[in-house]
């Protein structure tokens, strides 16, 4: 991979880590679209536990791995909520990247490096990189 691809990769990962590690603490804690639709018809208490009524979610059961160390986007044993959520997010991004990138790397096409992407991507020349533009204009002035 070229250096620019590494830069993009590292930059993208940093953004993801920041979102999952910090911004996640400011996410809405209301039930999402699916959950809220499934709770329609039931009455719930402050903990979103069903206390009455009839709704699609009333037969919901516990998760098989509800006691896992990162269950519910928190790190077991970390008391501080902010830290717990952020840490679980950071770990989640790293785990997902490791499994995703690792898996895709193993699955990738090997040998034939003459991929259209590497050599002659039509859009590559149009990259609006500042450096390219500057070089071009400087060359223009020089000539």
């Amino acid at each position: 991979m070229k250096n620019r691809s590494w830069g993009f990769l590292v930059g993208g990962l940093l953004v993801a880590l920041l979102l999952a590690g910090v911004v996640s603490n400011y996410a809405s804690s209301h039930p999402d679209g699916l959950d809220s639709s499934l709770l329609k018809g039931c009455t719930v208490d402050a903990d979103d536990t069903i206390v009455g009524g009839s709704c699609p979610a009333q037969q919901a059961r516990e998760h098989e791995l509800g006691d896992s160390p990162l269950a519910d986007y928190g790190v077991q044993g970390v008391g501080n909520d902010f830290l717990s959520t952020g840490l679980s997010g950071v770990l989640g991004v790293l785990i997902t990247f490791a499994i995703g990138a690792g898996g895709f790397w193993l699955l990738r096409r090997r040998g034939g490096t003459s991929t259209p992407g590497d050599t002659a991507t039509p859009v590559e020349g149009a990259t609006p990189a500042e450096g390219d533009a500057a070089t071009t204009s400087r060359a223009g002035t020089a000539g």
């Binding site: 679209g33 979103d48 990247f97 859009v123």
Partner: protein
């Protein structure tokens, strides 16, 4: 009950239907692997990993929608389809869902096939069909790219939500007394609003990548560059 669950929890859909969808999802994902390998080269593989990690991160960011007391979050099918193509894109979303179910206790393990079918397969497929059409019909400018990302993302969320309704019709554990239309309407309405958020996130992300590295946007491959003539305009706007 866990309050942080984002996906179908255990006990919502009965076992046999969940098993059928698990088999279906497995078969479809195998197809995605076989077809996706053609797209996966040394450069796309790590990018696809990044797309999965990014979707995981943004899925944590529940945003409020206009309805009080309800939030929404990215599903990511359209974003993945735009950036790495439909086959690898579906696999990216599936990786996220598997990690969430096995490590974060989100979405029942027994329900994984249902969740993958809705979000990784249906959502991504609907998005990519729209992307393919819109990119040919709309002007090849950054605005056209933004509209493509927004619309395909919004529609894909609603389609995914109706996938759940179909599953509930087949194997829902609570008898709705024939009121499936009510569930379908509620799901569609809420997810239309969530789709606006999905559309905004998808369009912003795709435009950002298209500006920095247009060669990394799968949907732009094979099309003449949309960004070349439009770049000065965008520079002026931002």
């Amino acid at each position: 009950m866990e309050t942080l669950a984002m996906h179908i929890s255990n006990g919502i859909i009965d076992g046999p239907v969940a098993a059928v969808f698990a088999a279906l999802a497995l078969a479809a994902l195998t197809g995605c692997v076989l077809r996706g390998r053609r797209d996966l080269d040394d450069r796309l593989a790590p990018m696809a990993g990044l797309v999965a990690a990014f979707i995981f991160a943004v899925q944590m960011l529940n945003f409020p929608i206009f309805t009080a007391g309800v939030s929404g979050h990215l599903l990511g099918g359209a974003l993945a389809a735009m950036l790495v193509g439909p086959w690898v894109g579906a696999l990216c979303v599936a990786v996220v869902l598997v990690v969430q179910a096995l490590i974060f206790g989100d979405g029942g393990v027994a329900m994984l096939g249902l969740n993958i079918t809705n979000m990784a397969l249906l959502g991504t497929a609907a998005a990519y069909l729209l992307i393919a059409v819109l990119l040919r019909v709309l002007p090849r400018t950054r605005a056209g790219l933004a509209v493509t990302a927004f619309v395909s993302a919004m529609v894909s969320v609603v389609v995914a939500s109706q996938g759940f309704v179909l599953q509930y019709w087949l194997g829902g554990t609570t008898d709705l007394g024939g009121n499936l239309a009510g569930l379908a309407g509620t799901m569609a309405g809420v997810h239309l609003l969530i789709g606006i958020g999905e559309g905004l996130i998808t369009a912003t992300t795709v435009l950002t990548v298209a500006k920095v590295r247009p060669d990394l946007v799968y949907a732009l491959r094979g099309l003449r560059s949309t960004s070349a003539p439009a770049v000065p305009v965008v520079g002026g706007v931002r």
